[in-house]
């Protein structure tokens, strides 16, 4: 099930809200949590029951391991590595085995060791990373989840289940443990506002940009692409991905607030960044947080000199690329960003960060172009297609020019929003660690009316809900 669908917005969501708040108001905390878990399972299994046992089994196994890690400290180390092996094994089997097999066969001949067709379970990358973080912290001595129900809710809670934000149990478990009884009107108002704005980003902006980007990347797959088309497609996808993913994160945050739950911020106007270092503090913030805490720092971080630091950065970004998908384009994308980070750190160490207006403008432009080039690789169906797109963008392509008027207009509108406006959460005054008090930039009534107009426009796109891009990861 997806957020931008009739069955979610007009059936599952209102029923779950009613059930949860009724139970909560009566002090039936366990019942309220069970309502959320049940709704989350319906949400996950809507497109098929096939992987429900897998996610439930993963939750049960990790909860049990976490409890044992806490109770049996003498066995903590082997239990921890069993847990890591279990989670990475699941991820490896479903996501990477076929890729590894194909490449080994390409190198050494033969049919490969893995020939069966495997369907990637929805959300496996997200719930695996969350549980790896949970096991790691429990191994380090943090208290485990207070109950199996709270833990299940932490992993399965539907607003973040499929495509994040990648939450940390330390920020979520306390909220689930004490859901409270009082209905917070401020939460509801802010949650509805963020939900509508996120829905607009996805249905009105991202899905429209997809109609520009998709044909271009499809053509690049056949090699027939000209410079104008390549730039149009690359820029359209750059903004499509941002509005799609940040829109989803906004919806998750908005939905969480409707239940009194606060999720971490995942995007903070990343395309306004003046460096790649800054970009990764604003783009998919929860993934960056995870990679820093559980890959970069365990590798040694910056504690062993600049050369080792750069190697660690590179490795971390390659892991980040691979997390997105089992393909050489994702590996290359990660490596490109790793390289850019290394260059950025070296530059900053040598020349310092840009401080003048002109310098920051140049820095912003260089950063943005590097990000666009990375997205071309990220989106392309193959390395050859990525090469064709990048070559065309450099002026070496041949192909028909698209109708630029509408495409350019769409891209300019998207760029204007991304570059010049504050993002949704800044606009509404959301802060994950503070009580939600909506900040109205217009009089409240006018803001409500504006949101009503936006909601009406989104309503028209619900019958043809596009897929959220990050569902693929």
């Amino acid at each position: 099930m997806i957020f931008s669908s009739f069955e979610f917005l007009f059936a599952l969501l209102p029923l779950t809200l009613a059930g949860f708040h009724l139970c909560r108001a009566r002090g039936w905390a366990v019942a309220a949590k069970l309502v959320l878990v049940a709704a989350s399972l319906v949400f996950y299994a809507w497109s098929g029951l096939r992987f429900l046992p897998l996610v439930l089994g993963s939750v049960a196994a990790n909860y049990t391991l976490g409890a044992m890690l806490h109770a049996r400290r003498g066995l903590a180390r082997p239990l921890f590595w069993v847990g890591i092996a279990f989670n990475l094994g699941l991820l490896g089997y479903f996501k990477y085995a076929a890729f590894a097999s194909t490449n080994i066969a390409a190198l050494f001949g033969g049919d490969g060791f893995f020939t069966q067709a495997v369907i990637l379970p929805l959300a496996i990358s997200f719930f695996t990373f969350q549980q790896i973080a949970y096991l790691t912290e429990t191994y380090r001595g943090a208290p485990p989840a207070g109950s199996a129900l709270d833990y299940a809710l932490f992993i399965l809670f539907f607003p973040h289940l499929i495509a994040g934000p990648i939450t940390h149990h330390t920020e979520m478990l306390p909220q689930f443990a004490r859901p409270g009884r009082r209905f917070d009107g401020g939460c509801a108002t802010m949650g509805a506002s963020i939900l509508i704005l996120g829905l607009a980003k996805k249905t009105l902006v991202a899905d429209t940009l997809a109609t520009v980007a998709d044909p271009v990347f499809a053509a690049a797959g056949h090699g027939a692409i000209g410079p104008a088309a390549a730039w149009t497609g690359a820029l359209a996808y750059t903004f499509q991905l941002y509005f799609d993913f940040s829109g989803y994160s906004d919806m998750a945050i908005g939905l969480g607030l409707l239940f009194g739950i606060r999720f971490p911020v995942n995007f903070a106007s990343p395309y306004q960044s003046a460096s790649i270092i800054e970009f990764w503090r604003r783009w998919h913030i929860t993934l960056s947080r995870f990679l820093r805490a559980y890959v970069y720092i365990p590798l040694g971080g910056n504690r062993h000199g600049p050369l080792r630091r750069h190697v660690n950065l590179m490795l971390t970004m390659v892991v980040g690329g691979l997390w997105h998908g089992a393909g050489w384009t994702f590996v290359l994308w990660g490596a490109l960003h790793g390289s850019c980070l290394v260059v950025n750190h070296v530059w900053r160490g040598t020349f310092g960060a840009a401080t003048s207006r002109a310098g920051r403008l140049v820095a912003w432009l260089v950063t943005f172009l590097a990000v666009v080039a990375g997205w071309v690789v990220f989106r392309s169906v193959s390395m050859a297609a990525a090469g064709a797109m990048l070559a065309a963008m450099a002026g070496f392509g041949n192909g028909a020019s698209p109708d630029l008027l509408v495409s350019t207009g769409l891209i300019l509108v998207a760029a204007g929003i991304a570059f010049l406006l504050p993002d949704t959460l800044a606009l509404t005054g959301y802060a994950p660690d503070a009580a939600p008090r909506p900040r109205w930039n217009l009089p409240p009534g006018a803001s409500a009316a504006a949101l009503g107009v936006i909601a009406a426009l989104c309503f028209g796109r619900l019958p043809d809900p596009g897929v959220f891009l990050y569902f693929n990861f």
Partner: protein, 336 residues
């Protein structure tokens, strides 16, 4: 009322008002029919042009799905009928009686038609046509039967944005590759042939339809279709409800044709390997039903499981022409 509830009320009222106002944005009908440019649905624009801008008579009009679009060659029908009748094939891919109704209404309200031939397949489809919302007027969508119309809410939800986009396209047609004035240079003629390839304004939407599907694949697809077919998913007490929507539109077509004194004929054109007559013939009672079952049996006639190839279409079209001519002579004899 709490402040939060008041704000939700303002938001809800504004949303509803916006939806209502958007649904009434004016647009040009010609633009509306041209706007769908994907796949063979691009023929919709040509249908509007044939009806409104081409003065060539319409002696026989065919309306159906891709079965008829690919299966009827107007020239072959005309040759078999003799006397140079003007044949026009107004069929569009995908199932959905409501779109047939829209096409029939556009045709019969604006042109004089000799005979209207409407396609029939094994059973009426329960589905609403996916492009009904694209060419319907807002009243058609709002007043569509609700039971059991699984796309009613979808079509209603699409109405506001559809109208907004159509309004924009009406103001800036060139930006979308559309035109408000009929251009004879871009017109595909009174009866373009869709049996060999579907081309719209020199853009091919299908490959050549001159090949035959593998016989084993045809037989397998036919067997699977028959095995999966469920003529009734609801209990007998609700059987009337199950097909209420397509039958509503069939009756609308029938009523309009009768009011315009246009003879209505049905053409049974199922997929390969299906029954030789419709599962339920009752909806078609009172009107001739043309059947060409013997011509649908050979594997060599089929491009794929659901569509005849050019050779199959030529044979079927010639037979349909003879049958229509015979029916016309019988009618003349009765009248004579």
């Amino acid at each position: 009322m709490s402040p939060g509830a008041r704000l939700f009320g303002i938001g809800g009222f504004t949303a509803f008002t916006t939806l209502a106002l958007l649904s009434m944005v004016p647009s040009d009908r010609y633009i509306q029919w041209q706007a769908t440019r994907t796949e063979a649905f691009a023929r919709l624009g040509w249908i509007y042009e044939r009806i409104h801008f081409d003065p060539a008579p319409i002696d026989v009009a065919f309306i159906g799905t891709s079965h008829t679009m690919n299966g009827i060659d107007g020239e072959a029908v005309a040759t078999a009928m003799g006397g140079c009748p003007d044949i026009t094939n107004l069929s569009i891919p995908s199932y959905g009686r409501n779109l047939h109704w829209l096409i029939a209404r556009e045709l019969l309200e604006h042109r004089t038609v000799g005979t209207l031939v409407v396609e029939v397949v094994e059973n009426e489809t329960r589905r609403s046509h996916p492009l009904f919302h694209a060419v319907a007027r807002w009243r058609d969508i709002v007043q569509a039967p609700m039971l059991l119309n699984l796309r009613y809410l979808n079509d209603l939800a699409l109405l506001p944005l559809d109208r907004l986009l159509l309004g924009v396209k009406t103001l800036l047609p060139a930006a979308f590759g559309l035109h408000r004035r009929f251009d004879p240079a871009q017109y595909d003629g009174p009866d373009p042939d869709n049996t060999r390839m579907v081309r719209v304004h020199n853009q091919a939407f299908t490959g050549p339809r001159t090949t035959s599907e593998d016989p084993a694949a045809l037989d397998r697809d036919a067997w699977e279709e028959r095995a999966d077919k469920r003529y009734n998913m609801l209990p007998p007490a609700l059987a009337d409800l199950e097909y209420a929507v397509p039958l509503h539109y069939l009756r609308q077509i029938e009523t309009l044709a009768a009011s315009r004194h246009v003879p209505l004929v049905f053409l049974y054109l199922p997929s390969y390997g299906q029954d030789t007559t419709p599962h339920d013939p009752a909806p078609y009672a009172g009107h001739p039903m043309l059947t060409v079952s013997d011509l649908l049996t050979p594997h060599a006639a089929w491009h794929d499981f659901a569509h005849l190839n050019a050779a199959g279409a030529a044979a079927v079209s010639a037979r349909v022409g003879h049958l229509l001519a015979t029916a016309a002579r019988l009618a003349d004899d009765r009248c004579g």
